[in-house]
């Protein structure tokens, strides 16, 4: 791993929230590298700053201090328009509650990132159907989210995160709403279809049952990364 491309590089990342006259320090100087081809899990107790960190990494939240480079791009100093374009092209999202648009079919949901990247609706739909086939939902492309089980909805969300070929996929508790077996299947799928040597996966989770899927686990506590364990044995 030592020679792999660094997908995400965080150095001294700090973030403080101001809320009702009280300051809450969420990140206290995070130093972390995530490599391409690596599935990293951010773990730790509630409120330790995991979600804040992936929000910064995904470019949807600005840190107050420090450097966060994603595939060499410093998102903090990017213009808003460039940051939007970067996010649309390079980052895929998988959420705990799936966050599918309820009035769109599975294929339409999956096609959104393509449309946001300027691809025509017809082409985007065709590509969405292909990706849905890869995640085992070839028969459900026309189904609404309400017609799908939790596991199927999460597979649609994975397809949506993958469809435009992003370099980084961030997942927030992707298995916490699923039973053990379905959670394992979703993780299998994520590893199979989402991970390749040019892409990194960052997963925030509490779910110890899926730690076995990680290439690297970053343990967080009180806004700091306290331990990083890689499956290769490095730390």
């Amino acid at each position: 791993m030592g020679t792999a491309t660094v997908a995400v590089e965080c150095r001294g990342v700090r973030k403080t929230y101001d809320g009702s006259g009280q300051q809450v320090v969420a990140l206290r100087g995070i130093d972390l590298d995530i490599h391409a081809g690596e599935l990293m899990m951010l773990v730790g107790p509630s409120g330790c700053g995991k979600t804040t960190l992936i929000s910064v990494i995904a470019g949807i939240l600005d840190q107050d201090e420090g450097l966060c480079r994603v595939f060499g791009h410093d998102l903090l100093h990017m213009k808003d328009k460039d940051k939007l374009r970067f996010r649309a092209a390079n980052i895929g999202f998988v959420f705990q509650t799936y966050n599918l648009l309820p009035s769109l079919t599975a294929a339409e949901n999956v096609s959104i990132p393509m449309i946001l990247n300027g691809i025509s609706r017809q082409k985007a739909q065709r590509r969405a159907v292909e990706v849905l086939e890869r995640v085992g939902l070839a028969e459900r492309t026309g189904s609404l989210p309400s017609e799908l089980s939790g596991g199927q909805q999460q597979r649609v969300a994975i397809a949506r995160a993958l469809v435009h070929g992003p370099k980084l996929i961030v997942c927030d508790e992707p298995t916490s709403a699923l039973d053990h077996e379905t959670g394992h299947r979703v993780m299998d799928l994520l590893k199979q279809v989402a991970l390749d040597e040019d892409r990194a996966l960052v997963i925030v989770t509490h779910d110890a049952r899926i730690f076995e899927f990680a290439d690297c686990i970053a343990q967080m506590d009180d806004g700091q990364v306290v331990k990083v364990v890689r499956s290769s044995g490095q730390s």
Binding site: A58, I60, A88, F93, Q96, N99, L101, L116, R121, V204
Partner: protein, 386 residues
């Protein structure tokens, strides 16, 4: 993203229908009430419009509207005829006279006395009989609405419908016999009294004894004579008021606008319709956005800019606006069509379409602004909050 915006909107049927219903209601009220108002205002001067032929109406300077009769001396007619540029000038009597009906009841009628020789100022459309029949003894022509309704005879059968007044029937006007020789179609007037046409000389016999009985002098300008110049000349020469047909109509409408509560009443209905429509549509549209705020957050996280989201909301607002407006205007038209043969005043000019269109646009802009503000301020990081 337009397709997605529309699917988001129509996917939530209840909300979509709620917004459309609010706008339909607002659009309906903003067209139906003004249409009745316009219809009423047009009725206030419908008599002037019906007479049509003369270019200028001459009357006492104190007259404020068409039914505000301040009689002139008959000699004024000759003074008007003497003004240069006048092609012809004819007398007209207009007054309210009580008619005694066959069952002994009384009904106030709007009696119009036309120049005996020319019968100028007669009804616009004759349905039965001829205008010239007014030259027969005791003859009158009544309007069809009056003949069917207020002048109708009671049925012999107690449960039967009243029998419309018809040619050959008689009635009494101020104790004098009047024979119906024709039925005419006239535009309903503001007061909706039956209209009875007769000759000028006979009208003065029906009218209560007064020193002066001439209501109006109807004037036609000579060919090539500029009407406004002639109007000014008549005023200066005779000291009377003289108006073109359009000016007289305007004078009458302005009187009703300034001196009656009608505009305020209708204005309040329209304002209430606007406010209620805006409240329903605005609130529902805002709620719709709030309920979808997470979806907008997801789109923002995935790279949709504020401009894209703004476009989506504006498209949604435009669609519901157009559907609501179309339904409201359609319902108003249907209402007008279904009421076409009733006493209800209803006129739906194109200006009302523009007026209500602007109203609905305002509501949509207001609703969209509320939602846009929320979406623009939205932090995409909310998508990671459970």
């Amino acid at each position: 993203m337009n397709y997605i915006a529309l699917k988001m909107l129509m996917g939530d049927r209840g909300k979509y229908l709620g917004i459309v219903m609010g706008l339909t209601f607002a659009s309906l009220i903003m067209t139906q009430q003004p249409a009745i108002f316009v219809g009423l205002m047009m009725r206030s001067y419908s008599f002037v419009t019906d007479v049509g032929l003369p270019d200028i109406w001459v009357m006492d300077p104190k007259v404020q509207f068409v039914d505000d009769i301040k009689p002139l001396q008959d000699t004024k007619l000759f003074r008007v005829r003497g003004v240069s540029g006048v092609d012809w000038a004819m007398p007209m009597y207009k007054g309210m006279i009580k008619a005694r009906l066959a069952d002994g009841t009384f009904q106030t009628c709007n009696v119009i006395g036309l120049d005996d020789a020319t019968l100028i100022g007669g009804p616009p459309v004759m349905l039965e009989g001829r205008l010239e029949d007014l030259r027969r003894a005791d003859s009158v022509i009544v309007d069809i609405d009056g003949a069917r309704d207020k002048l109708a005879r009671p049925s012999k059968d107690p449960a039967g419908k009243p029998v419309p007044l018809k040619v050959g029937d008689t009635l009494e006007l101020n104790d004098r016999r009047a024979v119906v020789v024709g039925i005419a179609k006239t535009t309903r007037t503001f007061q909706s009294q039956p209209v009875v046409y007769t000759t000028y000389s006979r009208a003065t016999l029906y009218a209560p004894r007064e020193r002066k009985l001439l209501s109006f002098v109807l004037v036609k300008a000579r060919p090539g004579q500029e009407v406004h110049a002639l109007t000014r000349r008549i005023r200066e020469t005779t000291g009377l008021a003289a108006y073109t047909q359009a000016e007289f109509e305007e004078l009458t409408v302005n009187y009703f606008l300034k001196n009656t509560g009608i505009p305020i009443n209708f204005g309040m209905s329209v304002t209430l319709g606007f406010i209620v429509g805006a409240a329903i549509a605005g609130q529902t549209f805002y709620n719709f956005t709030l309920e979808n705020i997470r979806q907008f957050g997801v789109l923002k996280a995935m790279g949709a800019g504020n401009g894209t989201l703004l476009g989506m909301i504006l498209l949604q607002a435009t669609l519901v606006g157009m559907v609501g407006y179309g339904l409201g205007v359609g319902l108003t038209s249907l209402f007008g069509w279904s009421m076409r043969n009733t006493i209800l005043a209803f006129k739906f000019p194109w200006q009302l379409l523009v007026f209500s269109g602007l109203g609905v646009t305002l509501i949509c802009v207001f609703s969209a602004l509320l939602s846009i503000r929320k979406v623009i301020k939205l932090e995409p990081a909310i998508v990671f909050k459970g």
